[in-house]
């Protein structure tokens, strides 16, 4: 410290000595502005004022390689950014124009998915003929505008804004979790001054309790109001708000209240400083120590794109990845915070239940030998395979092939019910596609509560409703919505009424240009499933829901494995197969109802968590979780995506498909593939769409080909398909954070 001070003094004095400007030794007190030419910004601007040489500029590319979409080619206008001409659609802001010209403007409050607030002033740029620098994020670009982004005036303006922001921002970067990925840190390095002039005390703000997920250090807040806008515009809860004025301004919940949104975790990402950080991740790691693996979320059927940040063998956090078609840049709280479940309740050794009812760890050799032996003593039709909700397509393919080779065809995926309609792909996927929902202007939700079943789909519906005031009708049990909706009824009777045009909502559907019907996958388990779907088909036909240019008939699935399972034809031969089974192979299936299973049945559980399926198991084969393996998952809109291994497997666990392949060899019915590539070629013969990774494969035929049904709808009301949003599968049930959430936030 002392040395540094001395050195800086020495530097300063030597500069005075060398300055030849005004003979005598004047007191040269260095002002706050670090770059001398900025001191006299106007003069410098005047010097620059000469018409610049006609642009002989290198071609610039938009920031982040973005593409510009011109909704109407006639509306293109031309502006000049630093002398470089760019064509932009009318209505873009100056900041967006700069981005297209390849200039990244510093910003705090502007976020391209939120409304414009214009209150941080960091994005000031100079515009020719305007007396003051303008906030580029809030200023619409006008034809012929000459924007200057790196003039001394703009630089000085930024430096000044930075100084005001840092006036009350604590200097606690060394203990701040945002350190290393903090916008304020980066921008103060790039645009800030090297010292501040404020000697008063910094203000401090009481921290708010926003619940078990978001940690607040409100003194760090710079009042950009991104979080407030996010909560009301994207999450659809008016929980956060701004209190007080001037330097007394605070972000808070008005009254002591937790943030009750299933998307609350996203405020952690959008907060440009460390005011809102992740509570479970607090003080756990620095972001530069983490290895990021681009993967897919499997806790629901949306398949949100995520990045798994790991350190060594441990998953440290999960953050979203941009995918405009699926999750935009948000993820649900379950996706973001379930990861601690990957460390608890893991199965790490093959185990066999002894005569005393306790599990004993054995070697893989012995475990597989026993399973193979038992499997051969049982009649083929008494063998049943159940794929769990987290299974990947490759292992489901292997399991189906194994069972078929053993002579059984009783295999299904939990959640699909006993009579799944696997023939027509359009009958079980989301035909409109998730991003397509934005074009809809009327929704009919049948037995589905998207808010808990697929939070990201719900966010799209919310976005649409917010943008176009689309009408939402809902048939199902009383549920919680974060947008305007009409609760039409609780049972399928209401559907029949709508189908026959007797219901007031049918006129709303009739008048809609792009109506959307979403049927929840909870309906699959109903006795009168076919009748319900028939009613839905009638509604679709009467209201022109399925047209060549628009397919608004959707099924919203619940689990990551469902769509792929149906594509691969995991359909049981008889719906009573569990009642007469003597050998059940549970591949990660924990939620299948085994009450009717005969007591002498032999149950093999292959999976990664000691969850419900293990209670009844005779043999446990430990498998790897989705963070540890490569696997294909198809989401509810029919887009296949691949998970990548981020961390090594736990203990003696093996990948799912390898276990089945090994078992097949021990059992003497060797499957003909030894690698993922070989399995995928096998999948190509069954469901080639699963190999088109990251590209949505729409269904070819529409549902109108469905056979007539004579079944009548029952009067039983629809039931909620997901009881607890935070705990839906083996991993989330093992997670402590999810348990806290369900205790505190479940309504």
């Amino acid at each position: 410290m002392g040395l540094g001070l001395l050195a800086s003094r020495a530097l300063r004095s030597s500069r005075i000595l060398r300055s030849p400007s005004n003979g005598g030794p004047t007191y040269f007190l260095r002002t706050i502005v670090s770059t001398p030419e900025l001191n006299n910004a106007d003069a410098a601007a005047a010097v620059q004022g000469n018409p610049p040489p006609p642009p002989d500029l290198p071609k610039r590319n938009p920031v982040g390689g973005a593409r510009v979409h011109f909704p109407n080619p006639d509306d293109a206008i031309e502006v000049f950014v630093d002398g470089y001409p760019v064509k932009i659609p009318k209505g873009m802001t100056v900041l967006q124009a700069c981005e297209i010209a390849g200039v990244d403007i510093p910003r705090f409050c502007y976020h391209n998915r939120l409304s414009i607030a214009g209150n941080c002033r960091m994005c000031l740029v100079e515009v020719e003929k305007s007396p003051k620098p303008v906030a580029s994020c809030a200023m619409p670009a006008l034809p012929g505008m000459k924007i200057k982004t790196d003039t001394p005036i703009a630089k000085k303006a930024r430096e000044g804004v930075m100084e005001f922001l840092l006036m009350n921002h604590p200097l606690d970067c060394p203990i701040c979790d945002q350190g290393g990925e903090c916008d304020l840190q980066d921008q103060s390095m790039a645009f800030g001054s090297d010292r501040g002039r404020f000697t008063e005390m910094k203000r401090s703000v009481v921290d708010k309790n926003l619940g078990p997920l978001v940690k607040t250090v409100m003194t760090r807040c710079i009042q950009c109001t991104r979080c407030v806008r996010f909560a009301s515009e994207v999450a659809g809860v008016e929980d956060l708000g701004m209190l007080g004025r001037g330097s007394g301004e605070e972000i808070g919940t008005y009254v002591e209240k937790l943030m009750t949104s299933e998307l609350s975790g996203n405020v952690i990402d959008i907060c440009p400083v460390g005011a809102l950080t992740s509570k479970p991740f607090a003080f756990k790691a620095r972001n530069w120590e983490l290895k990021g693996t681009e993967s897919i979320d499997v806790t629901d059927a949306v398949g949100s794109n995520i990045r798994i940040d790991s350190r060594g063998p441990e998953v440290m956090r999960v953050v979203p990845r941009l995918n405009e078609d699926i999750n935009e840049e948000w993820i649900s709280d379950k996706t973001r915070f379930f990861y601690d479940g990957l460390k608890r309740q893991r199965l790490n050794d093959p185990m066999i239940r002894g005569a005393d009812g306790r599990f004993k760890a054995v070697s893989w050799r012995d475990a597989l030998a026993i399973v193979a032996e038992v499997m051969h003593q049982i009649k083929p039709e008494e063998i049943v395979g159940v794929a769990g909700k987290l299974s990947d397509a490759e292992s489901m393919m292997a399991l189906k092939d194994l069972l078929n080779k053993m002579g059984s065809n009783n295999i299904f995926c939990e959640g699909n019910g006993m009579h799944p309609n696997a023939d027509l792909r359009s009958g079980y996927i989301m035909n409109t596609s998730i991003s397509g929902l934005e074009k809809a202007d009327a929704f009919l939700l049948v037995g589905t509560q998207p808010r808990v079943e697929a939070a990201m789909v719900n966010a799209r519906i919310h976005k649409t409703v917010k943008a176009t005031h689309a009408k939402v009708g809902y048939v199902g049990p009383a549920a919680d919505f974060n947008y305007d909706h009409q609760h039409l009824g609780t049972g399928p009777q209401t559907l029949v009424e709508i189908a026959e045009g007797r219901h007031p909502f049918s006129s709303a559907l009739k008048n809609a240009k792009n109506p959307v019907i979403i049927v929840g996958a909870g309906v699959f388990d109903r006795e009168d499933k076919d009748a319900v779907f028939a009613a839905v088909d009638t509604i679709a036909k009467n209201n022109n829901v399925v047209r060549p240019d628009w397919n608004g008939l959707n099924v919203l699935l619940l689990n990551a494995a469902q769509a792929a399972a149906l594509d691969l034809g995991l359909v049981p031969e008889s719906d009573k197969c569990i009642d007469s089974a003597k050998f059940v192979y549970l591949m990660g299936a924990d939620d299948v109802n085994l009450d009717k299973l005969p007591d002498d049945a032999f149950v093999v559980y292959q999976g990664h968590h000691g969850d419900r399926g293990v209670y009844r198991a005779n043999v446990i084969l430990p498998a790897s979780a989705f963070t540890e393996k490569e696997g294909t998952y198809e989401n509810t809109e029919g887009c296949a995506q691949i998970t990548l291994p981020a961390v090594p497997t736990v203990g003696d666990a093996r990948d799912d498909w390898k276990i089945i392949r090994a078992l097949s060899e021990v059992a003497g019915v060797r499957l003909p593939y030894d690698s993922l590539g070989a399995i995928r070629s096998r999948i190509r013969t069954v469901a080639p769409n699963l190999l088109e990774v990251d590209e949505r494969q729409p269904a070819t035929f529409s549902t109108s080909l469905r056979p007539e049904v004579s079944q009548k709808v029952s009067s039983t009301p629809f039931t909620p398909a997901v009881e607890n949003f935070y705990m839906t599968d083996a991993i989330t049930r093992a997670s402590k954070i999810m348990a806290q959430c369900s205790a505190l936030l479940k309504k």
Binding site: S363, P648, T649, A653, R654, R661, A662, E665
Partner: protein, 132 residues
């Protein structure tokens, strides 16, 4: 025995293969003669019998039975002598001997092999780990 080996030095090179062979046999005999003492020092009675140890040493020797270069044989003999001296002088500990001569090179987890006979490479790899 021990006193004889204490002043061990590098023996002169063998002139011919026959001489090297003779020396090898002599070395083997010396090993056999030290085995009772080694059994005593390291208290190996409950894990191994003298004859098993003898065959372990013989196996080590036979491993190199294909050598014809007297120089190489001399070198290996010297190494063997060194090992024997270490054993007799109690320079080793019990687990060294148990690990090397009683359990053998395969390690504690014995892969008896016959179970995996005829199984594919996939299965063999599967048993040994997830990553292959």
């Amino acid at each position: 025995m021990a006193h004889m080996m204490r002043n061990m030095r590098v023996p002169p090179n063998s002139a011919s293969l026959a001489e090297a062979k003779h020396k090898t046999l002599e070395f083997f005999r010396m090993c056999c003669r030290s085995i009772p003492e080694i059994m005593e020092i390291y208290n190996l009675y409950d894990v191994v019998s003298p004859s098993q140890l003898r065959s372990a040493v013989a196996a080590e020797v036979r491993k190199n039975s294909n050598l014809t270069n007297p120089k190489v044989i001399d070198m290996l003999l010297f190494k063997g002598m060194e090992e024997l001296k270490n054993c007799v002088d109690h320079s080793k500990q019990r687990h060294h001997l148990v690990g090397k001569y009683v359990v053998g090179n395969q390690g504690l987890v014995q892969d008896l092999g016959h179970k995996d006979q005829g199984s594919s490479n996939f299965l063999k790899n599967f048993y040994s780990g997830n990553y292959f």
